[in-house]
Amino acid sequence: MMNLTLKIWRQADAKSQGKMETFKVTEISEHMSFLEMLDVLNEQLINEGKDPVAFDHDCREGICGACSLYINGQPHGPDRAITTCQLHMRTFKDGDTIYIEPWRAKAFPVIKDLVVDRTAFDRIMQSGGYVSVNTSGNTIDANAIPIPKEDADNAFDAATCIGCGACVAACKNASAMLFVSAKVSQLALLPQGKVERQDRVLNMVEQMDKEGFGNCTNTGACSIECPKEISLENIARLNREYLMASLTK
């Protein structure tokens, strides 16, 4: 059991000025997940008649990408390759002070407290458009097309991106390159995705720039902090795809 001091960003709504506020929680079990610890805090706040701390969460098993907390100076906390919901309180010690902040980026404005608006990612995905696969009744089994194992593996790895935005949060430039590169790669590597690959990469990068994300300077922070360990090779692939598309299209 541990007692903790929490420094949490509170902000009433998108327009209000926010600030860090200090809270105390007691008797936290090391078996709790980080979000369960916040549930304890919120129950306490509700009992005191106060406004609970708003934070995003859904699956609580590391697959949806909803949870998004900047914990003690790192997205999803100090552990590697996990989301906030997979972070356990055993990572902390009795008496610790924990900073909890929202993702910080112009393209991810705060909605309330720790919840940010990540629809910029949705708009980037939409700008990528469709994949020309026949779905009108005579659909071809995807397995009927031979694909080199390495390409299939790389595409699958890229496809594990859950769109959480930790890459943007970690990046000193608030760049969305790791996310966009994962989305571009998962399709560009496979035959089904090759048909529109040039338009896709041009449009997704254009949308990424419009949303106000920063420019990548290859610090590599994104990949280190990514809960799915999306590799920087994807960013290189995006750079290649974009260069070829803009030279030839």
């Binding site: 420094k7 980026a105 608030a174 990068v205 720039d209 420019n215 300077t217 610090t219 902090e225």
Partner: protein, 226 residues
């Protein structure tokens, strides 16, 4: 529609130009260094060798053409790097974190390319004013071989402690800039391959230590020995 301005205005385009101008500057530094190393010869040989080198660098047509490319690259790299990249990137995060452990996910040099670059730019201006400007626009004494005696000017400069110190510190700054920059330039161009990237990284780290170190040894040698 997206394609038309893609190579000029997009975030990636800025990076491609940054990378190409940066790598061109890396190439230039090798040529520059090769010339400077003649300064380490015996005092009797160093003068004529260095003066012949400066004469060659300022009159050989191919080098003259590439010198304009070089001025352009430095200016472009600096403007693109500071006014566009670094400034835009600051704007992309209007509110900073109260607690941020960036050192746990990236190296210091990679997060300070703008500051390191600005320091190099100031050094380049000082360096140009001291050597290039004097060579082009002032009367310089002739050496026995009837070539402008740049060697004399260089030796006089490096006998000043402060100038030697500024030079050495600037080379350390350059080393940090290139420790990240060299590798980064290849990633920007999309060159990341499990076979070649370790080689690029090795060459980059070797380059970023050895080239600035050799540049820095010359003023130290002159300061201590001449």
């Amino acid at each position: 529609m997206a394609a038309r301005s893609a190579l000029l205005k997009s975030s990636l385009a800025k990076k491609y130009w940054m990378s190409l101008t940066g790598l061109f500057l890396c190439l230039f530094l090798i040529v520059h260094l090769a010339g400077n190393l003649t300064l380490l010869k015996d005092a009797a040989d160093a003068g004529p060798a260095f003066n012949a080198y400066t004469e060659f660098m300022t009159s050989f047509p191919l080098i003259k053409i590439s010198s304009y490319l070089l001025y352009f690259s430095i200016l472009f790299h600096a403007i693109d790097g500071i006014l566009i990249l670094t400034r835009e990137n600051k704007k992309a995060r209007p509110v900073n974190y109260a607690s941020n452990k960036a050192e746990r996910n990236s190296i210091w040099a990679s997060r300070n390319m703008g500051v390191l670059g600005t320091a190099i730019f100031i050094f380049i201006v000082l360096h140009m004013a001291n050597f290039w400007f004097k060579y082009k626009f002032t009367d310089i004494a002739m050496d026995p071989g009837d070539l402008p005696d740049m060697y004399g000017i260089v030796v006089a400069s490096f006998q000043e402690g402060w100038y030697t110190a500024v030079y050495v510190v600037s080379m350390i700054v350059l080393g940090f800039h290139l420790w990240h920059g060299f590798e980064s330039a290849f990633q920007t161009l999309g060159i990341n391959h499990h076979k070649y990237s370790p080689i690029i990284q090795g060459v980059g780290r070797f380059y970023s230590v050895v080239v600035p170190a050799l540049f820095a040894i010359i003023p130290i040698y002159i300061f201590l020995n001449l």
